[in-house]
């Protein structure tokens, strides 16, 4: 399951990055909070395939499918805060 598969209002834990993702982008995503072990919640999932909004701690980021589908997450851990 990837971050892009996460439904609005649910959260999951980052497990790893897809191996094809360049290391510099892995570092940046980690710095923004998308690092293994971190809990991420999907706060908004607009229709028509628009980028989704993900909350990491007290920050919200918008990721499109080209990057959210490169972050592998654990099974949904329930409703987002």
């Amino acid at each position: 399951m990837t971050l892009w598969d996460l439904k609005q209002g649910t959260s999951a834990t980052v497990q790893s990055f897809v191996s094809t993702l360049e290391s510099r982008y892995k570092t940046r995503l980690s710095e923004l909070g998308f690092h293994p072990g971190e809990s991420i919640s999907c706060v908004l999932s607009p229709s028509l395939g628009a980028p989704k909004l993900y909350r990491v701690n007290n920050s919200v980021y918008s990721l499109d499918d080209s990057v959210a589908s490169l972050i592998e997450v654990g099974s949904a851990a329930g409703n987002a805060a």
């Binding site: 570092t27 710095e31 920050s59 918008s62 990721l63």
Partner: protein
């Protein structure tokens, strides 16, 4: 003189803090990475100390070209003996994110033995919501001074400046616990510090999420986006119109006052035609530039533009662009030059290159005087739906949309046929908090942009206006424009513009406008002024209406100006940003051919319909 570096993440409020500390008018934007240059200014409280505003960065481990430049400049500055202190600005409403960056800065400062002060910004937001922050605990644990400030309200600034001055003389020692080489350790430390000392609860983030649910909703979000963009263009007319009328009346009043005092002959003719006719015709459009800059700035500072980038991402991706291209493209609506600079925020080299292709086609404010003049001359000033929608406003909206559509078609075509730089960066955009914009910096910025526009373009316009007046006045002292040097030149080039119904005067104005688009208006003002003799002070649009120009030619001119790349400054900045003249030269030639062909087609279609 001692120097202090200001550094922080995008949206930490660093640029507004810099303005407050120095009294300078630097553009503040609530959008990631808008600051791309290093600005300097003397401290208001301690003039012997100078602040250096470094570009906002997410990390000292750069991954984009823009970040690399900023980070390298920061490390180089740390070697400079004149740098006495570093101030790291942290947004306390998003403490963990700010602390990750602050811990990286602590590492860098520890390595170079530079004193550091942390400015805990946006403390006013926490106070408004009765949220607490344990500043003393954070300061004790980190071992560096932490000063609570609000760049917006101005609270804590005096204490920050005193701390900067006092701290620079203290010996520099850092807690080795926070000097980590591993990124995951830094992240864990920031998380622990934010949990222990930061505000508790989800109040702020929940409020932001509720607003995002509205502004990014499939229907309400799209609708509000369209309404905001439409209001933006209507307001250029409705808000600026009274001021424009005022400028026009003032110019007329001044002309009536001054001209009778001058001796008849060359001086009187020059003042009437070149000064009031040529330069006056350009000045009258400055209020529109002011209003446009003000509204775009308001949208930036409120945080709405980041949402607009999300809304635009999916559609822009269809044209080979990214949602991040939206900001440079929208900035180009004011002026292509800041748009080109803003394109540095597009971290993908390929997407940035494609954004460069679209920027010259965005309807910049230099086109505004030309559009306004042609619309005033060819579109009736009547309204429909009880005055709700004006035909002229609708025409302006249409020509703006036309330029944008042309830009998107070009990037779409090129992105599908050109395979250069295929490696792309992912789309990750921080959703900055919604904030009420501060009016003072916005007004000062709009004033500064208008002033810069007038002074920058004014020099070129004055020189071109004088040159054209001389060419049109001599050798027969303005007796017959057709027999003047300019008239002779115009006859030579007339065949080139005849296919879209334009006579030599418009040909001359188009050629001079390749220096800068708005010169077109000044040139026509001078040309009609010379021809009109003493009656030149009547509106230029009326002169055009009375000249019998076919309606197809008016539309052809609108289309020509929306495509052709007539701006030396844009070409120069583009060559600087791309490192060569190759792209500007390619764009200049291809857009000139495109503009000429499209104008010819427009003329024939409109004339056929009108017939």
């Amino acid at each position: 003189m001692s120097k202090t570096i200001l550094i922080g993440s995008p949206n930490s409020g660093k640029s507004l803090l810099f303005n407050r500390l120095t009294g300078l008018n630097q553009k503040v934007a609530n959008f990631p990475g808008i600051t791309v240059n290093i600005n300097t200014g003397k401290s208001l409280a301690h003039p012997a100390n100078e602040f250096l505003d470094y570009p906002g960065a997410y990390s000292l481990q750069a991954i984009s070209g823009e970040e690399k430049v900023a980070v390298e400049a920061f490390y180089t500055a740390l070697e400079d003996s004149e740098i006495s202190t570093v101030v790291c600005v942290v947004d306390v409403t998003r403490l963990e994110k700010g602390l990750i960056f602050a811990l990286q800065v602590i590492n860098a400062c520890a390595e170079k033995q530079k004193p550091l002060v942390i400015a805990a910004n946006m403390i006013d937001v926490l106070e408004q919501h009765n949220l607490d922050l344990d500043l003393a605990g954070l300061e004790r644990t980190l071992g560096v001074p932490v000063v609570a400030v609000s760049a917006k309200s101005g609270s804590g600034l005096e204490q920050l400046q005193d701390t900067v001055i006092n701290h620079r003389d203290l010996p520099t020692t850092y807690d080795s616990d926070f000097i980590a080489s591993d990124e995951s350790i830094t992240h864990r430390q920031a998380q622990q510090l934010a949990e222990e000392f930061g505000p508790k609860g989800d109040l702020l983030i929940n409020a932001q999420t509720r607003l995002d649910a509205f502004f990014l909703h499939s229907w309400y979000g799209g609708l509000s986006f369209l309404v905001i963009m439409y209001l933006l263009f209507q307001s250029i007319f409705t808000w600026a119109a009274p001021v424009m009328d005022g400028v026009e009346s003032s110019l007329q009043f001044m002309a009536e006052l001054i001209l009778p005092l001058l001796p008849e002959g060359i001086i009187s003719d020059f003042t009437a035609d070149a000064i009031f006719g040529g330069i006056g015709a350009f000045l009258v459009f400055v209020p529109q530039i002011f209003v446009l800059t003000l509204i775009v700035g308001m949208l930036e500072d409120s945080g709405y533009l980041a949402r607009a980038a999300v809304i635009c991402h999916k559609p822009l991706r269809l044209f080979g662009l990214t949602g991040k291209s939206f900001i440079p493209m929208l900035s180009s609506v004011a002026c292509a030059i800041p748009g080109i600079y803003a394109a540095r925020t597009v971290d993908s080299p390929r997407k940035r290159w494609l954004t460069y292709l679209a920027i010259p086609l965005m309807p910049c404010s230099a086109r505004l005087p030309v559009y306004s003049l042609l619309i005033a001359a060819f579109i009736p000033a009547s309204n429909m739906f009880g005055g709700l929608i004006g035909w002229q406003g609708l025409a302006m909206f249409g020509i703006y949309v036309f330029g944008i559509v042309c830009g998107l078609l070009v990037t779409s075509l090129v992105s599908r046929t050109n395979k250069n730089m295929q490696s792309d960066l992912p789309f990750v955009l921080e959703m900055s908090p919604y904030r009420l914009p501060s009016w003072r910096p916005l007004l000062r910025n709009a004033w500064g942009r208008s002033k810069h526009f007038v002074t920058k373009a004014g020099k070129v316009i004055f020189l071109v206006t004088v040159a054209i007046w001389i060419l049109g006045y001599f050798p027969n002292q303005g007796a017959d424009l057709g027999q003047s040097w300019l008239g002779t030149m115009g006859q030579w080039i007339e065949p080139a513009f005849a296919p879209f119904g334009l006579d030599w005067k418009y040909g001359v104005a188009i050629i001079t406008s390749f220096l800068a688009r708005e010169v077109f208006v000044g040139t026509l003002g001078t040309l009609f002024g010379i021809e009109g003799g003493e009656e030149n002070i009547i509106s230029l649009a009326e002169h055009i209406q009375n000249s019998g120009l076919p309606v197809g030619a008016g539309f052809a001119l609108l289309v020509f100006f929306s495509i052709a790349l007539q701006c030396i400054s844009t070409l120069a900045v583009l060559s600087k940003e791309t490192g060569s003249w190759r792209l500007p030269a390619q764009l200049f030639v291809s857009y000139s051919i495109f503009a000429y062909t499209a104008a010819w087609l427009t003329f024939n279609i409109v004339q056929a319909i009108a017939a």
